[in-house]
Symmetry: C2
Subunit: 419 residues, 2 copies
């Protein structure tokens, strides 16, 4: 892939105001009182956001498709429409108490680039497609990022259809409803293999803000391992059961989590260990808990270190379970992703050409780009977010930084689409 | 109160089979697949159990009343009907995964005694009333035992009406529905002050079974302190947020609970410390928890020790909160109850007269009798339960032990009702 000289007018036609307005329009779907969004995968709000994108595309005469897992594509044809498209995008679903920019920015920056290509009269050889991947977050249906994973042929559709959310709603049903509501033609899985993929995203960490830079050229994504831990003890009366005869599942969970925190506390603070969900049953103040289920999210950029950490989690959980029994189940493994040098070069050249301060950096979070990277050359563009805060209703980013990222995206997409 | 000689025929007329049948009939309301009951306060199942009692009373010509908090009374008149009644009873509500005997036994043993009084043609001077107190368990509406607490004039009805359950159902509405469904006349609060109160209950601990005795003469109920602990941190992305910049509410909760367990671990295993409910928000596997709420159930027979433990809980919670903020709120305080010597004597004499093995013992659990003890001489009769297991669907007791307790209850009630 030789990056051709890009038309400077495409990036110059990116409108800070128009992008901000589009971000705010879409933030209305699932808007929370605290200024964030609750737009979980395949919810009515998520589908409404997708329909907004479909209407946006129709107004401009772009073609839209979806696939059988609900990934939504907006296509702007190239001068050689049979060539593999350059893709860009991210996701529209959010955490239950999520922010307005995580995911949505990558999709809507892509749409802003399509507007900028039109406004500047830019023709590209290859088609450019903007995609909204289904269920990146994984908060409603686990595991996350299965929209892009199924598109990349890593997971099979059938393997997720029977998943239920915490209210018992089956993915199969919610997906069918969303596909019908969105109402655009289905494009078969495997019928399109992208030429390349670029994803714009807020950093979700504090580095760019700390260094006063607008653009992060993402070099890699750390590996992720998700585990489910179930501890079974025995329910008993809180007033009558002496400590020594209890099998208190929460007490064992506390001992296990405390030991795991100690075990994962590395001096250089690279390992990420999080217990994000913890459910205690029966959950009555005066009953000794008989069952606890908690999740572990474990991340490290080095595959070997991550594997060894997972082994040690199993050991520690068994050692610290006390009188209870414990089961540790693998839920998701994502190997670290190393992005292709040529894509990083294209992004770096665009940032340089636009005179924007930039740096190479790894991604702490998983993204759909990790699955696309198994299919084609892929890369990511980061922009700063306020205080590095994300997965939080207070998540914020400035119109200027959002537009800077969209300009780098426009320039990079044109380079790749003309290569 | 001088205990008169009791009619031996009342206790002899207690039927083991009839009592067992009544217990099994009522266990059908809210029956669970695992052989327990889920009959939480003021639920449809709880009201159905109360209506069963109303039908039972109507078939025998006994008068029934309820009061404005839904406590249900079945009255058998005495030869001097204007005298204060002797009361016996317990509660029909259960834990969400509760057993068939906790509470229900005390109410239904009382009804069996009324049948036995009829069958033996026993006349008592004082009326005998069997009562089912509303919401002893406190699992659906907190605090527990507010039916007896309002009857005893300790709590006010108005103070609980706005309580909501975890699904948002208001007590005011659920109570109104239950009162209307039960459909018996309302007797005003304060219009009846019992002469004395005896409550039969399964022990909910292992002592009687271990010692091979059928009757426990309860001397006291340990004091209870319920606390709510709320920890507020900051939601953040599990992949991008370094450990040192996290404000992880669950991590702080784990540190606090571990320290509290250590602090309350007394060598003689008398202190009861339980965290029964722990809610983690937002509860997404890849989001650092921003808020944790957990409950503490703390018990000790010595009031001074209990008070000092509560003070130390506050200190430890503050010390171990790390980067998060913590709030500890009092939810319920119940002082230890010391039962009246004359009531214990009456129970002891009855057990002796019936040739049943008995012992004096404290109660580890709170019971409605603790509120009644502020109003009149009160006491309790314990019988063994299998393995000491309670607040558990596996809770069990033998027909023979259940009948033995009912016989002591019959004999004691006659003694008291003729005094």
């Amino acid at each position: 892939m030789n990056a051709l000289a890009a038309s400077p007018s495409a990036s110059a036609s990116v409108s800070e105001d128009r992008l901000w307005q589009l971000l705010m329009d879409v933030a209305a779907y699932g808007a929370t009182a605290k200024g964030g969004v609750n737009r979980q995968a395949l919810s009515a709000e998520d589908t409404a956001a997708k329909k907004h994108v479909v209407r946006w595309a129709a107004e401009r005469g772009f073609t839209t498709f979806q696939d059988d897992i609900g990934n939504l594509f907006v296509r702007r044809d190239g001068t050689e429409p049979t060539l593999a498209p350059v893709m860009t995008g991210s996701h529209l679903d959010s955490q239950p108490t999520g922010g307005r920019f995580d995911g949505a920015y990558g999709v809507l920056a892509g749409l802003e680039v399509l507007d900028a290509l039109n406004d500047s009269g830019t023709q590209t050889r290859r088609p450019v497609e903007v995609v909204a991947w289904t269920n990146e977050e994984g908060s409603r249906y686990s595991p996350g990022a299965f929209g892009s994973s199924i598109f990349a042929g890593i997971a099979e559709l059938a393997s997720v259809l029977d998943t239920t959310d915490s209210a018992g709603a089956m993915l199969r049903d919610e997906l069918a409803k969303s596909l019908a509501e969105t109402g655009v033609p289905i494009r078969p899985q495997g019928s399109v293999r992208p030429h390349s993929y670029i994803e714009a995203h807020i950093e979700q960490g504090p580095v760019l803000e700390d260094k006063g830079l607008q653009i992060g050229v993402v070099t890699s994504i750390q590996g992720i391992h998700h585990l489910d831990v179930v501890i079974v003890g025995e329910e008993a009366h809180a007033g009558t059961t002496p400590r020594r005869s209890r099998k208190d599942a929460l007490s064992s969970a506390v001992a296990i989590i405390a030991a795991l925190e100690l075990m994962t506390s590395d001096e250089d603070d690279v390992t990420r260990f999080t217990v994000g969900r913890c459910e205690v049953q029966p959950g009555s103040p005066n009953t000794v808990p008989g069952r606890v289920h908690f999740t572990i999210d474990l991340r490290h950029p080095d595959r070997a270190v991550l594997t060894s950490l997972v082994d040690r989690v199993r050991l520690v959980a068994t050692e610290k379970a006390g009188p209870c029994s414990v089961t540790v189940t693998d839920n998701l493994t994502v190997d670290p992703t190393i992005f292709k040098a040529e894509v990083m070069t294209a992004i770096r050249q665009s940032a340089q050409a636009l005179g924007l301060g930039h740096m190479d950096m790894p991604s702490g979070a998983g993204h759909d780009a990790m699955h696309l990277a198994t299919l084609c050359p892929a890369g990511m563009i980061f922009i700063p977010c306020l205080g590095g805060v994300s997965h939080n209703e207070a998540e914020s980013a400035t119109p200027a930084d959002l537009a800077a990222g969209a300009r780098v995206l426009a320039d990079t997409l044109v380079r790749l689409a003309n290569s």
